[in-house]
């Protein structure tokens, strides 16, 4: 049996294996065969065995024992074996294997071989798996081959050069002159390779960009030739002459024209011509048009051209082919920031794409729709988005919900509409919204005081219908607690009146309390609401007392604590109950990191409103009485805070909240550390904000000498992987006697999470003399509430 048949036979046998185990058995037998073959030494069968081994490797089985055989085969004079050896090298060897070093010499010899096929084999292998040392050794050879007369070799050599540049960027200068001359080739293969090479060169080094900008006219010529040429059978793909080369050239033009006016001007005509002449009925044409659009958007093109580009994208949107719709939306997403109006024209089509079958298309359409929302079209867009929310796939729900909230916040035409929208979202997708939606919504409701009646009615109805959506239930409970009296009054201009009795309300709240669907946070809300109602309603106070006392022995600590405190309010502090449970004042909208700052915000608000002094007074008195029960949380000011309940209940919040509960109502002052003190000039650092990868540090300089310090400048240096951004200093004169300070904020971005070090050089003039000094700050803590850099003055 001739060996090549055996390869095919082996493949047939493997594919006929019915189970994975059977296949593994066959493969093992074959591998044993192959290994025996290799050990036998030189006969005509080696290449065939290697071929079989490579097939086995493609299927995913280990084939490392073939590596030495590859090396041997490469060195063989026979073309068959050489070819198989190189193929094996490309598949089995990579720079981590030791055997790869052994073939360097063979490659070197083969690069100067008389047969072009052998040369090309060597070039391909080098381009595929050449390590940095191999590349460095052989780069001059490659450069020589770039000037060879044979276009077959030139093509391979250019691709090899691309690989070399990727591996060893310093060798780039070697190839620049050759690359330039290659642009005048006729052969498309070589041209394509040359364009790739130039793209790679420009990407690595911005200086080469300037050099190659001079080649723009040449590139424009080539493109023109391609676009206007008649049918050329060897390069034709679906009616377009070599679309792959066209796309490559367009991409290179994009890189060259980016941020450069002269180059962009030279390209304008060409781009217009390509855009109008290319036939987009087939995908190949659309690919070229797409690349043209991307290029137009990226360079400094004139506005007519940009409009043309957006129109092309709009045409794509109406195309039947899903792929084309998808990419047009992707590119519209990129340009919606800059050319907002142009994209608005296609809003209708984009919104229709929300209903498409494909998830990727839907996701893109969602992103675009959210970007296109503006004050003008908010109502209609919101309608569409809400319909989308009810039908959209699960993975897009939370994104849609948060997008809707953002849009509603920015552009809502009226408070009532805003509240309606949020309620709608909560009823449809309450489980997928983020946690801070609840306090945000509550804050919004408190500000819309004329709508309290309306809101509470709506929420009550929603609550009665369905108590499974936690966020909705939480908001509803809070509102019923606050505005229960409005609910019970029964009348409201905007909804048909429904008579709600106190029993109904308490019934609803009790259901929430007892339902197994309610989370502990929700139960907390419900309990507090029940308590608040004790001052708002008149008849069923006893019922409330009994509910509250039942939960005094609840297993859940939070509920138990609340129940006990409320009980205390009923018994010992009944006289204070009314004051404690009064309506909450309107909350300030603080930044997201400050959800619990609401607590402190209220106490510190400058305009005094009645509950506050009462609150502050109350806190100290009963605190001592109930503190034996409060050792659980340790803080003595945690009790008797039914008002800020909504901000404390989400116990899933960050450590910031917990620390606030423990440490009191004042925010912890951020410590400053002195890093440098000499000659009366002292430099302090203060860490303001910290996340996993970003640190914001403020440097404060002050002067305790008799005379001013002028021309004060700071320079900072950080380790390589850290990015440093220094904001403008507050000034460069530090007044004497510590009367003033100069501050400068520094932003550090530390994506690799290396240990942060910073070296700061200060230079200033003092009493006529110029001083300079350097300080090194050695470590900032990677995590932690307190920021204490350790210092090492040089």
């Amino acid at each position: 049996m001739s060996p090549s048949v055996r390869l095919q036979e082996m493949i047939r046998v493997i594919r006929s294996a019915r189970t994975q185990g059977e296949e593994r058995g066959i493969i093992q037998r074959e591998c044993a065969d192959i290994r025996a073959q290799f050990r036998q030494g030189d006969n005509g069968e080696r290449s065939h065995s290697l071929a079989k081994l490579l097939y086995v490797h493609m299927l995913g089985y280990p084939a490392h024992f073939g590596q030495m055989e590859c090396v041997r085969l490469i060195a063989s004079p026979r073309y068959n074996e050489k070819r198989m050896g190189y193929l094996g090298a490309m598949m089995l060897l990579d720079e981590k294997q030791d055997a790869s070093l052994l073939i360097t010499n063979s490659i070197k010899n083969d690069l100067s071989h008389s047969s072009q096929y052998v040369q090309s084999l060597a070039l391909c292998t080098l381009a595929c798996m050449g390590s940095a040392e191999m590349c460095r050794d052989l780069a001059p050879e490659i450069e020589r081959l770039l000037r060879a007369s044979n276009s077959y070799i030139k093509k391979k050599a250019t691709l090899c050069a691309v690989h070399i540049i990727r591996k060893v960027p310093e060798l780039a200068e070697l190839f620049i002159p050759a690359a330039r001359s290659l642009l005048s080739e006729k052969n498309h293969g070589v041209l394509h390779g040359a364009v790739v090479l130039i793209t790679e060169l420009c990407a690595r080094n911005p200086d080469t960009l300037d050099q190659f900008r001079k080649a723009v006219p040449e590139l424009v010529q080539i493109m023109k030739g391609l676009v206007t040429s008649s049918y050329s059978p060897e390069h034709n793909v679906a009616g377009i002459s070599d679309p792959f080369l066209q796309v490559r050239i367009l991409r290179l033009l994009r890189i060259l024209g980016h941020n450069n006016d002269t180059a962009s001007d030279a390209m304008n005509d060409l781009l217009a011509q390509v855009a109008t002449n290319t036939d987009s009925s087939k995908t190949a044409g659309s690919a070229v048009l797409y690349e043209t659009v991307l290029t137009i958007m990226d360079i400094n093109s004139e506005s007519g051209l940009r409009v043309l580009a957006v129109n092309i994208l709009g045409r794509f949107l109406l195309n039947n082919d899903r792929n084309i719709r998808y990419i047009s939306m992707t590119s519209l997403q990129k340009i919606v920031q800059t050319d907002h109006n142009a994209v608005q024209r296609h809003r209708g089509t984009i919104v229709d794409c929300l209903k498409d079958q494909d998830t990727s298309v839907k996701r893109r359409a969602l992103d675009l729709s959210l970007a296109l929302v503006s004050a003008v079209n908010i109502r209609s867009m919101m309608k569409e988005l809400l319909i989308f929310l009810s039908t959209c796939p699960l993975e897009l729900r939370s994104q849609t919900a948060s997008g809707i909230f953002n849009a509603a916040e920015r552009y809502s035409p009226s408070k009532r509409w805003h509240i309606d929208t949020i309620l709608h979202v909560l009823t449809t997708a309450g489980g997928d919204v983020r946690d801070e939606t609840v306090p945000n919504l509550i804050q919004l409701i408190t500000t819309a005081s004329e709508l309290h009646c309306y809101t509470v009615h709506k929420l009550y109805r929603a609550l009665v219908k369905d108590i499974s959506q936690q966020s909705l239930v939480q908001v509803a409970c809070w509102c019923i607690g606050e505005y229960g009296d409005l609910l019970l009054k029964g009348e409201c201009e905007e909804i048909e009146p429904v008579q709600v009795t106190e029993d109904d309300v308490l019934e609803a709240l009790e259901t929430v309390l007892q339902s197994h669907m309610s989370s502990p946070a929700t139960r907390g809300f419900a309990l507090t609401a029940t308590m608040k109602l004790s001052t708002r309603i008149t008849d069923n106070v006893d019922r409330i007392r009994s509910i509250v006392s039942i939960y005094g022995s609840c297993i859940d600590l939070e509920l138990q604590q609340r129940a006990v405190e409320y009980n205390a309010l009923f018994k010992k502090y009944d006289h204070m109950r009314a004051a404690v449970l009064e309506r909450m004042p309107v909350m300030d909208k603080n930044s997201p990191g400050h959800t619990n700052g609401d607590t402190s915000g209220e106490i510190k608000e400058p305009d005094p409103s009645k509950p506050k002094p009462v609150e502050a007074g109350l806190l100290s008195e009963p605190a001592s009485q109930v503190c034996d029960l409060l050792d659980l949380l340790g803080g003595t000011d945690t009790p008797l805070q039914p008002k800020p309940a909504p901000t404390i209940t989400p116990t899933t919040t960050s450590s910031a909240d917990l620390l606030d509960l423990l440490g009191g109502l004042e925010p912890i002052p951020v410590p400053t550390v002195t890093v440098y003190e000499k000659n009366g000039l002292s430099l302090k650092t203060q860490c303001d904000k910290q996340t996993e990868t970003d640190v914001t540090v403020t440097l404060i300089a002050s002067n305790s000498t008799q005379s001013d310090i002028t021309n004060f400048t700071l320079q900072a240096a950080v380790p390589k992987s850290v990015q440093l951004q220094m904001k403008a200093p507050s000034g460069n004169v530090i007044p004497a006697h510590g009367l003033g300070q100069v501050t400068q904020t520094v932003l550090l971005n530390n994506p690799n999470k290396v240990s942060l070090k910073m070296r700061i050089r200060v230079s200033y003039s003092h009493q006529g003399a110029v001083h300079q000094d350097t300080v090194q700050i050695d470590s900032f803590p990677s995590l932690g509430w307190n920021c204490q850099p350790s210092i090492n003055p040089l």
Binding site: L87, K155, T283, R322, S360, V361
Partner: protein, 108 residues
């Protein structure tokens, strides 16, 4: 290239990926592509790459590309590639086909 059952028929890596990780990576990608229905488009977002896939009878060809590559042109390239293989396949034996596959992939 994978078949309908998800078995890899051919894989080509342009960056170094360890052998052990390759199988897991391929399985993951393929799972994403095979699960797509006919009406869905051929571009999938996967981690920080994009996958362009095309189905030819029982064979799926999946290409992973970076963010700034033109997806449509890769789509066309895949088709071109298959056409070329088609022309060769009918005439030459299997061993040479492997060669052709390798050499064609070089030309990105």
């Amino acid at each position: 290239m994978v078949n309908k059952q998800g078995q890899t028929r051919l894989s080509k890596y342009y960056e170094q990926v360890e052998l052990g990780k390759r199988a897991a990576l391929e399985a993951d990608m393929v799972r994403g592509c095979l699960a797509r229905r006919k009406e869905e488009c051929s571009f999938v977002e996967y981690k920080d790459y994009k996958l362009v896939y095309r189905q030819y009878a029982a064979l799926f060809i999946v290409v992973g590309i970076t963010e700034n590559e033109n997806e449509l042109s890769i789509y066309e390239l895949v088709h071109n590639f298959v056409e070329v293989l088609d022309k060769y396949f009918s005439r030459v034996g299997l061993t040479l086909q492997l060669q052709v596959v390798m050499f064609k992939s070089e030309k990105r």
